[in-house]
């Protein structure tokens, strides 16, 4: 039986209670750390564990913490990024609806490691049940002396506040999130200075994903070597919450070893493709990742193998498409999303994405020309000059379309109609 640290406390159809979590060993990592470990030791354990950020970028969580200068005066801050708005991604919601305590314990441990007195959970609109679980969990922890002043008599104090947002994709970008939390319009900030040096209210700030932080208690409790052993790839570490949607039999969020091959996830965990469907392509890690096709069936779903195969593990949100899906139309849907969600701060993103959308709309409607392919190709490069990662991410699927579905794209142009949409009219 494979281990599932993040889902081990889950109860069927309801949220685990505080007492159940504690009886099953919850908060023992926090007790151990506050009694026996220095903040540096906690940080080192997380570095040694090989935990990489689960929000999309895949940067080492412990190393991110280590960039916070130890000697700067004034408060430092921790923000948990629960602004899960990447289309195709719902893992943080599933985790928090089942169990808010791993995240809370992980945030207290992380705050201890970084030297944070006041941490925030930035949660998106629509995750009301998750937010209610977190609010309840925080007040239970305060009552039990696990949060607030002088936690468990250790002398360490920490508070956690829930900040509820009002729906905007860009808030998930860490510097935009800092502006949003300060009550400013959520445009990204220039880097440098990096948030670790100058972030929230100009203080050193760490922004980590829900899943990254929720793993910390298990790393501290069972050790970095155990954590590394959870992955299937030699260089990988830990489990991953994969959330699958699209044309498979069983669409669900599952905790699997990092490095399980794509085909195995679809065949064994999702029960294969739905009747009448065969696998054509998928987004391997949310809306901003280049497509995988049948040739990637055996790629281990871990950061490095997915990157070597030309895409990104991203959030672990796998969106599966069958043979009847038009990849131009799918890409158009994605680009419409990104063009709408662009914050408008920088010109390449604000002007470039609507232009790409316009080109794709023309191709899909049977108005495409060979020149359009060149324009798309150029924009994959051009949009790298944008201010933040939104536009380059948005061009991920376009890049995948050009790389894997050139024949389908050309067919739209030569036939002057969408070859997959039965209702489409030929454009003369």
């Amino acid at each position: 039986m494979m281990e599932q640290p993040l889902f081990q406390h889950n109860k069927a159809g309801r949220c685990v209670t505080f007492n159940e979590y504690r009886d099953e060993g919850g908060f023992s990592a926090l007790e151990k750390a506050l009694k026996d470990l220095s903040p540096e030791q906690v940080q080192q354990a997380v570095i040694d564990s090989g935990l990489r950020g689960r929000g999309g970028a895949g940067f080492s969580t412990g190393k991110k913490w280590s960039f916070v200068p130890r000697d700067l005066p004034g408060p430092r801050w921790l923000i948990c990024n629960c602004d899960e708005m990447e289309p195709g991604t719902y893992k943080d919601r599933v985790l928090l609806e089942a169990n808010p305590y791993s995240l809370i314990e992980g945030m207290i441990l992380s705050s201890y490691a970084i030297g944070v007195r006041h941490a925030f959970i930035f949660i998106r609109r629509g995750y009301e049940e998750a937010a209610a679980n977190l609010e309840r969990g925080i007040s239970e922890c305060l009552k039990a002396g696990l949060l607030g002043e002088n936690i468990l008599g250790s002398g360490f104090s920490c508070d956690i506040d829930v900040h509820s947002s009002a729906g905007r994709y860009i808030c998930g970008e860490e510097t935009a999130m800092i502006n949003a939390l300060e009550g400013k319009r959520a445009n990204p900030r220039p880097r440098p200075p990096f948030p670790a040096v100058k972030g929230l209210w100009d203080g050193p700030t760490v922004v980590n994903n829900v899943e990254s932080l929720a793993n910390v208690p298990y790393i501290i409790g069972k050790g970095p070597e155990w954590f590394k052993g959870l992955a299937r790839t030699p260089e990988g570490a830990g489990t991953k919450l994969f959330c699958i949607s699209g044309h498979v039999v069983k669409r669900s969020c599952v905790e699997l070893p990092l490095g399980m091959p794509l085909g195995e996830i679809i065949e064994e965990t999702c029960g294969g493709m739905r009747p009448g469907s065969s696998f054509k392509a998928c987004l391997p890690g949310g809306a901003s990742t280049p497509y995988f096709t049948a040739e990637h069936w055996n790629i281990p779903m871990d950061f490095d193998p997915v990157a070597q195969a030309g895409s990104r593990l991203g959030t672990g949100g796998i969106v599966v498409f069958d043979q009847d899906t038009c990849m131009v139309a799918a890409t158009l849907n994605l680009i419409r999303f990104f063009a709408r969600e662009s914050c408008g701060w920088c010109t390449p993103c604000r002007e470039g994405l609507p232009y790409v959308r316009h080109i794709l709309e023309n191709i899909e409607a049977g108005n495409g020309s060979e020149e359009h392919i060149d324009i798309l190709q150029q924009h994959v490069t051009l949009l790298n000059y944008s201010f933040c990662a939104l536009a380059p991410g948005a061009m991920g699927p376009v890049q995948g379309l050009l790389q894997h579905f050139m024949d389908e794209l050309r067919e739209h142009i030569t036939k002057r109609r969408c070859p997959l949409n039965k209702d489409a009219k030929t454009h003369h």
Partner: protein, 162 residues
Amino acid sequence: MVPDQLKKALEQRVKASVTPREAAVAVMKELQRHYGWLTDEAVSEAAQILGLTSLQIEELATFYEMIYRRPVGKRVIHVCDSISCWAMGGESLLEKLAAQLGMRVGETTGDGMFTLLPCCCLGNCGDSPTMMIGDNIYGCLTLEKTLEILQQEMQMQIDKET
């Protein structure tokens, strides 16, 4: 005008924040809950409570998808139009729903009950197509199921008012 009790609660929320401005979104959301949408009056009240200018509130209000700066129906239907829902027929659901309600997407029904809006991924992709009405998320939608839900939502609204 905002009732005294709500005003006091909001001032309390602002006081509890690290800086008043951190509470800006929370204050806007509460005022919207009270008025149904963020009216011009609510913008000035939010500005006053937060110690900001109306323009600073406006700049925030127009940025967020779930802050309404125009009148909306009593129940706002947000139908997800992102990729997982698109793959499962979300696009045609939105069109069919608009046709059933006898209006275009973005409009409000004649009785002032429902406004229909497309929205960004709701994080319910495993149960797509999906929509949100108020704080309620509904998944695995068909047109029939959606119409049933609208009946229930309407009934809940009527019960609340009487």
